[in-house]
Structure formats: structure tokens, C-alpha cells
Point group: C2
DNA sequence: GGCACGCTTCGACGGCCGTCGAAGGATCGA
DNA sequence: TCGATCCTTCGACGGCCGTCGAAGCGTGCC
């Protein structure tokens, strides 16, 4: 019994039929947005080629894009797209068992990672929430519609607290870069701290041994010291 | 969270990325096997092109093939293949509403149709079963593994019964063609009568107005008369 | 303003693949 | 044995598409 109408599946299938595009889509499977450059590296092609591919995926409504500064972050368009990729994977030969290394890396990335130059992942979101609820940080314009417009201010209490770990907030205010805003963290669907403040705080924490750089590109690992200090200084408890 | 291993989905997707192959696979979605020629017509390509496509689908393990006489019947390899096609359909634009005409035809084909030159479909399977259970037909070699080797004999009772509707069974025995065997009917997953006997019986029933040829290629429609005669002569009741 | 960086557009190259007619093989019926 | 039917193989043609370097554009940082 055939359905009363058929779909033209060939054009969509053609988008999946290229190795480079297939790698990109597979990399996006977990829902985390990736920049065009990261996708190019994942697929092993030049930026020009990747751009062409991403344009086609956009036209085909398989991905969406969000501009954030100089970057463009791509995501799968929806669960139905992911379902297609998984269905095809089921009847495709496995290419290589990469062992536990990658899956452990993936889990680490969820826990903590850098987003451009500041802390993201579960730890980033938790720290941001803690700073707000402790009154170290105050929203000026917590616009969720346009994260680029968001703005925050450090309270007096916050300035003292941040000073205690070696951060010169006053100097950061004088920086040309936006002082403090938020990014939406797509894994967590929660915002994390951004801007000059976010970058400086992250750099300070790494410098001071709260986090260590992992083997994966953007991975960070919370140390025992970091876990304690985050709780003490910010009232931030990680799962 | 990414799976510990990935699949190479591009080659499979490439098989779906051609319009002709996509039509063929969609036509096979309901599980009914179709011959290479039927698939060529469905896709609107030449026999040569269709053969090339079917070879690729075979290599890619998306379909299986069964030889039956001069025909080669293709089927989807499994439910997982069907799942892929349906998943892609869900994110592909609908192409055209073909109205009720085609779906009514599909239903008619399920009810009764010709298989090469003899009766198939639900009616064919029902008739075959009735002839066996009434003792008009006797299995000599009811081999299900190899339908081509199957063989049946008409009993004395059967010969009288068939004679009563104008069939000369003795003459059919002298024909060079195989006397009686069975085909597996893929829609019904039940066998139906084959060979010289099957063809002659079918021709006689059409000639006598038990069935009428439908608009679709191989469709047959049971008439009221046919319904009554099938019950009277063979004890065969159609749903 | 100047530089660095990320991304896109352009143009050109190369290769893969869908298409068909003609010919060949297999099967069946007369 | 012969012709008809179904299907495959072969060879040739044509077009589409992935690829990259170079150049252009926008953004952010100093």
C-alpha cells in the first residue's frame, strides 16, 4: 500500500552523499553548534570548500546558522534531520572503532570547555548562575533574544571577590572590548559569561590551576583545587 | 554525546541521491517485489539504465533479487532500509498528490492480479488453498525452498471439477510446459498455482467472466459471477 | 587607523556518474 | 529449432559537482 503522495527524496539524499558534508553533519549530531572553521577541519577540507558545503546544507534546510562575532555557528535544523543520519548510519558499515578516547573526550567537553576565549559547558553555565545568585554580577540588559546586546555589571561585592583571586576589574572596564555579556551555551541551553571579564576570569582560573587544558581542542578539566575554589569563592557546586 | 564509532553514511546516501533509484526504492516501500522492467517503467528510464541502477542497489545491500523465469524480482533488503527512506521522506518536500486513483489501483492489485500469465494476489492464493483442501490438487513436491522445483498433480475429482468448467486437463498434461507448480506470492506470502494448469485455468476464468481486466497493468477484478462460481466450484471464499 | 582573523565568492580544473542504443545471454513457449 | 521476452553488458556521450587558491568582505582587537 503506497502513501497517497510521495516525496522527492533524491535532493536531500544528495546532500548527505558527499563525504565532507556527511562528516560535518555527523559532527553536529549531538546538537552542539560548531563554527564553519571547526567543521572544515573535521571534514578535512579547505575553508572555501567547507563554505560551499555549508551553503548547500543551508539551502537544503538541513542546518541553521547563527552569527556570533566573526564566527558562524552551525547546528542541525532539527531532530528529524538527526533521525535521518542515524537511520542511514544503521545500514552503513562502521568505519573505525575509535575506542573510549573520543567518547571520554566528548563527555569532558560537556563538562567544561572554552568558548572562543572563555569558559563554557556545564561549568561555565554553573559559574555564571552562581555569580548572579550570589550578587557578584548584575544584569543591565539580559536580552535573550540577542545575546550580542546583553550586558552585565560587577557589583562592589563582586569586585572584592574577583580581586581576591587576582583579577583587576577596574582595568578590565577600561578595555576596548565589551566588558561583560553572555553567550547562549547550546549544550546546556543556558548562558555563560562572556566579554573581557569572562576571558580574564577564565585565563586567571586556568593560570591558577582550577582547570587544566585537556587533550581535545577546547576541553578543560576541573581540578580538585578548582572544584573547591569554585565552591568557596563563587558558591558554585559542580555536579 | 557522540557514539564511540561512526559510520560512513555517504556511500549509502549516494545510492539514494539519484532520482531514478529513489523512485525505484519508493516503489518497493510496501514490500511487494517488482521486476526490473516494472521498476524501469516506474522510474521512467530505459532497461539498460535500470539494470545499472539495480546493480548498484544490490552492491550496496539495499535490495535483494530473486530470479523467477525470465523475470528478476527486486525487494527492499529489510525494514531498516525502509526506515531510511521514510526518514528522508519526512524532511523532503511532497512532490505531488496523485489522488485516489493510484491507491485504489494498489488495493485492486492486492486483491487479484496476473503473475505472468496466471492468477495471483489474494484471490490466487485463496483459490490455490481451496483446491488443495478440497482434494482437487495434490502436492508431489511442494518444495518451498525452490518454487521452481515444485510440482502438483490433479486428482480424479479435480479433473471432473475442472472439466465441468471447460478445462481439458488431459490435454494440458501433454503440453511441453510444466504442468503445475507454485509461485510464492510476495504480497500474500502464500503460494499460488502456476504452470500450464494455472495459465489455462486463469484464461478460462477470464474468458468465462469470473474476472475482468482492470485499468492497471496486471489488475484483475472479481465479478459477482466469479465470486459465486469460485465458491461453488472450488469452495473458495474471498474476503 | 591598521592588523588579524573568519568566512564567503570567484574562477578553473578534474573526475565521477547517469544516460541511452546496440549487442549478447538466458529463459520460455510454439 | 526458432522467435519473443526480459534483462544485462558494453561503449560513448554529456553534464554535474567537489576541490582549491586567490581575492574580497566583515568583524574584533590594539
Amino acid at each position: 500500500m503506497r502513501a497517497p503522495y510521495d516525496s522527492d527524496i533524491a535532493p536531500v539524499a544528495a546532500l548527505l552523499a558527499d563525504r565532507a558534508r556527511a562528516s560535518m553533519l555527523t559532527a553536529l549530531l549531538d546538537g552542539r553548534p560548531l563554527s564553519a572553521g571547526e567543521l572544515a577541519r573535521t571534514a578535512g577540507v579547505s575553508a572555501a570548500t567547507a563554505s560551499s558545503h555549508l551553503g548547500k546544507l543551508l539551502d537544503g534546510d538541513l542546518v541553521t546558522v547563527v552569527r556570533q562575532g566573526r564566527h558562524r555557528y552551525y547546528r542541525l535544523k532539527g531532530a528529524e534531520v538527526a533521525a535521518v543520519i542515524e537511520a542511514i548510519s544503521r545500514i552503513s558499515p562502521d568505519v573505525e572503532v575509535r575506542g573510549l578516547r573520543q567518547s571520554r573526550q566528548a563527555r569532558a567537553l560537556q563538562e567544561a570547555r572554552t568558548c572562543y576565549d572563555h569558559l563554557a559547558g556545564r561549568a561555565g553555565a554553573a559559574l555564571f548562575e552562581a555569580m548572579l545568585s550570589r550578587g557578584l554580577l548584575e544584569p543591565i540588559d539580559p536580552s535573550y533574544d540577542d545575546p550580542a546586546a546583553s550586558a552585565y555589571e560587577v557589583t562592589d561585592k563582586g569586585e572584592r571577590q574577583l580581586g581576591s583571586i587576582g583579577l583587576d576589574v577596574a582595568a578590565l572596564r577600561r578595555a576596548r572590548r565589551r566588558f561583560a555579556g553572555h553567550c547562549l551555551d547550546w549544550t546546556e541551553r543556558r548562558p555563560h559569561l562572556n566579554g573581557a571579564l569572562g576571558a580574564a576570569l577564565t585565563a586567571r582560573m586556568i593560570e591558577d590551576g582550577w582547570f587544566e587544558r585537556g587533550s581535545a581542542r577546547r576541553a578543560l578539566l576541573v581540578t580538585e583545587k578548582g572544584r573547591g575554589r569554585l565552591a568557596d569563592v563563587f558558591g558554585c557546586v559542580l555536579g
